[in-house]
């Protein structure tokens, strides 16, 4: 069997010189690449992925009655500027919403967590919250990520925080600056691409600039996506989910938690579709009757209107801070 290293000296000087050369080249090339990325406007940024979600979920690991957890889908993730809500309510705020999914698996996780004593803002996204496939525990991304949270070891968590730390330092570690995006763009267009339309902050506040998109087509896309996600929808399924939802809210209330159920604005084709499939008297009012929670519906608060982007479903990029300020006023007025 050959051994990995012979006792013979491979050459002290050779290795010292080779490593010095390598170190200099690495520093030069990486610094030059980082500088180039920053020149075209790319900044250190985070990816809205499982690692960032797990990091946020761990912020709820310490008992803290003042903490606010936000659950739901992309609508609430883009609408609430976490830093603004935290400042306006003077409470730590943790964003746990996940794009295209139901918040119920996370609600169950919080209900089962004896350390969680805070407030939950549960955003209803009709197409996702009442989807039989996504809302059940063990299904959908929120369930997968919740399961990963429960299994994550301390060393994995430390590794995750270290990786997020480096992501926040260098543009080349961000999704916008990744070579999988930049190199194909250089090959195709001969130049580096600028920032992507989606930006994610460390606190998981996501901002999406849809200003370039066609309004009608965009709303049609949203409705089509909703339609695909509501195929499995029926009244019996809704009753089952609502019963389950109600049980979780009762568990949270018994621990001293507060629960807000939030219906964020939508308009145009999206609102038409939501009204048709989820009429208020059947769904919203049914929830109000069955859930021991506080309810905020955008139609009851005219000050929440006028902030949406062309897609008719999400708060526009750049308007989230102001929208959050208005929502914070409503929440504080209702006792938060």
């Amino acid at each position: 069997m050959r051994s990995s290293t012979s006792n013979s000296d491979v050459g002290h000087r050779k290795w010292v010189r080779a490593w010095l050369l390598a170190a200099c080249l690495v520093v030069l090339v990486i610094a030059a690449w980082e500088g180039t990325l920053r020149q075209v406007g790319l900044e250190p940024e985070y990816s809205d992925n499982r690692a960032l979600w797990l990091s946020a979920r761990h912020r709820l690991s310490q008992p803290d009655e003042s903490v606010v957890a936000i659950l739901g889908a992309s609508r609430v993730q883009r609408a609430i500027d976490v830093a603004v809500l935290s400042e306006r309510t003077n409470r730590p705020v943790v964003q746990l919403a996940v794009e295209g999914s139901s918040g119920l698996p996370v609600l169950e996780n919080l209900a089962a967590d004896p350390r969680f004593r805070g407030t939950v803002i549960f955003s209803i996204a009709p197409a996702f919250s009442f989807n039989r496939r996504l809302s059940k525990v063990g299904k959908g991304p929120q369930a997968d990520w919740t399961s990963a949270y429960l299994q994550q070891s301390r060393s994995r968590r430390m590794e995750q925080e270290l990786r997020l730390f480096t992501q926040g330092l260098f543009a080349f570690r961000s999704a916008d600056g990744a070579i999988s995006r930049t190199i194909p763009a250089i090959i195709d267009a001969g130049k580096l691409p600028g920032p992507d339309y989606k930006t994610t902050q460390r606190n998981r506040f996501v901002s999406v600039d849809l200003s370039q998109l066609n309004r009608d087509n965009d709303q049609n896309d949203i409705v089509d996506m909703y339609r695909q996600n509501t195929e499995a929808y029926d009244q019996k399924g809704f009753a089952e989910i609502l019963h389950y939802f109600s049980t979780l809210v009762d568990i949270l209330k018994s621990k001293g938690c507060r629960v807000y159920v939030l219906r964020l604005p939508s308009e145009g084709l999206v609102l038409d579709y939501e009204r048709q499939l989820f009429p208020q008297d059947k769904f919203w009012k049914q929830m109000q009757r069955q859930l021991d929670a506080q309810f905020i519906h955008f139609e009851d608060y005219p000050e929440l209107e006028g902030y949406l982007s062309a897609d008719g479903s999400h708060v526009a990029a750049g308007k989230a801070s102001e929208f959050t300020g208005r929502l914070a006023s409503i929440l504080t007025a209702s006792g938060l």
């Binding site: 050959r2 051994s3 990995s4 290795w15 050369l21 690495v26 060393s155």
Partner: protein, 471 residues
């Protein structure tokens, strides 16, 4: 704690600093032992008990084996084997055995439902139980002197660079390195860090960055793959599993080198193999030699009739397959390799001496055929289920349909990376990697290391576990 993690880099930096303090050799070994336990416990602390059970069992059993005679001696060897294989059997094969037992009972009309098992497979259990057990067997056979130092023996079982995925060490090879302190020289640090860089490049850039996404497109797809998809996905997997596992092994050797230890190579240009016996002399060498020495030889190997030799070979390969995981596909994978080895032996006995097979063009052709067969067997290793393996193999052999799951970019990517791998293995098959590296000039060495480090730093940040961690 995976080698490709930032937390491991910090951990290793601390261990290395402590190891180079002016302490006694015993204190340094205690540092390494503590570091090894921290390394293992970082994954799942309670499972460190299993590592201790294996260590204590073989420490105790080997002492008894050394002093006892006759049946008592054998009894203690059986104790070592039972404890190690018992742990392995429960944690790795418990659910598998129960599922198959339930299926068997159902065949006879007995309604028995296997429990929904949630047994967690302890990291590296297949590696350290084999390593620990081999010491007792060697003492029993009189090939290994009794280790008088508990500290040395514990470190032999749990040395962190190779603890969770090998290379599987032999007591005779490693224990003598623990006798005295041989601090690493500058050249060893240089070589060790170069190996760590090469291993990281293989894992992070080649296996995870370039090949794994193509493999997943084919093997994790709900859409049935065509022949082209199958070949591209499988060739990508052939590259991925080599770069993943060799990457881990090379990092392990590099870490050992920085700490002043020699660890054995686990791979020697395996895709440059000509024939299947040659492949197994080059692939996962420390496992195949373990199986040869402790299983095949124990069954009398080839010192029996030809038919019995073939049975021994088949059994060794079937068990080798099962070692990789609790699945019939792994058993089948081992079985197919067994058949290929038996077939090769038969052919060699009839045509081995023929001059026709000695030419360089014949060697090239035989090498290519070997690699294509190896690729086909990887389907059994990687497929999610027997049905998908059967479909993929059918599609690959009939070459039906054009690419539907993989893009032209994927095809070019795989052709480039795997093609380069084959060329390197073909040209390196009779050459020593270390010798080749030693002959490179320092500017070229520096340039290669810089290119690898830059590629590692610029690769996507998603961390993937090493494939062999699952075994």
């Amino acid at each position: 704690m995976a080698f490709n993690s930032l937390i491991f880099l910090i951990f290793f930096a601390v261990v290395l600093c402590l190891h180079n303090l002016p302490l006694t050799w015993r204190a340094k070994k205690l540092n390494l032992l503590a570091a090894s336990y921290v390394f293992y416990a970082a994954w799942n602390p309670p499972f460190i008990l299993l590592l201790w059970i294996s260590t204590l069992t073989d420490w105790y059993a080997s002492r008894k084996i050394f002093t006892a005679t006759g049946n008592t001696k054998r009894l203690y060897l059986v104790l070592s084997i039972l404890v190690n294989l018992g742990m392995l059997g429960y944690f790795k094969y418990g659910a598998f055995i129960e599922e198959n037992f339930a299926a068997l009972l159902q065949l006879f009309g007995v309604a028995y439902v296997a429990r929904d098992s949630s047994i967690i497979l302890p990291l590296g259990i297949s590696f350290y139980t084999f390593q620990s057990m081999s010491y007792s067997i060697d003492v029993y056979r009189g090939k290994q002197r009794l280790c008088e130092s508990w500290l040395d023996f514990s470190l032999y079982v749990s040395f962190f660079p190779q603890l969770v995925a090998g290379p599987i060490l032999r007591a005779g090879f490693f224990l003598k390195q623990l006798a005295d302190d041989y601090p690493a020289r500058v050249s060893q640090f240089g070589w060790g860090f170069a190996l760590i860089t090469v291993g990281m490049f293989e894992k992070v850039v080649l296996a995870d960055g370039l090949l794994a996404p193509v493999v997943e497109k084919v093997y994790a797809s709900s859409i049935e793959a065509s022949g082209v998809d199958g070949w591209i996905g499988t060739m990508a997997f052939a590259g991925q599993i080599f770069f993943d596992f060799n990457g881990y092994s090379v990092i392990a050797v590099g870490l050992g080198c920085c700490l002043g230890f020699n660890l054995p190579w686990n791979f020697l240009s395996p895709y440059g193999a000509v024939g299947f016996a040659d492949f197994w002399r080059r692939w996962h060498i420390t496992l195949s030699t373990w199986l040869r020495d402790y299983l095949y030889v124990s069954m009398s190997g080839n010192r029996v009739s030809t038919a019995r030799t073939f049975i021994n070979l088949m059994l060794t390969m079937l068990i080798g397959g099962l070692w990789h995981g609790a699945s019939w596909l792994f058993v089948l994978w081992g079985g197919v390799h067994g058949i290929l080895l038996v077939g090769e032996r038969l052919l060699r006995s009839h045509f081995g001496g023929s001059a026709m097979f000695q030419s360089s063009s014949a060697t090239f052709l035989l090498g290519l055929i070997t690699w294509l067969f190896i690729c086909l067997t990887w389907v059994l290793f990687r497929a999610e289920s027997p049905a998908s393996a059967a479909h993929l193999l059918g599609a690959m052999l009939s070459l039906q349909g054009g690419a539907s799951l993989v893009s032209m970019t994927d095809i070019l990517q795989v052709a480039l990376v795997v093609g380069a791998l084959l060329v390197i293995h073909g040209t390196m098959r009779d050459r020593d990697f270390e010798q080749t590296a030693r002959n490179l000039s320092w500017p070229l060495t520096g340039l290669i290391l810089a290119a690898m480090l830059i590629a590692i730093l610029l690769s996507p940040g998603e961390e993937r576990a090493f494939i062999y961690f699952e075994f």
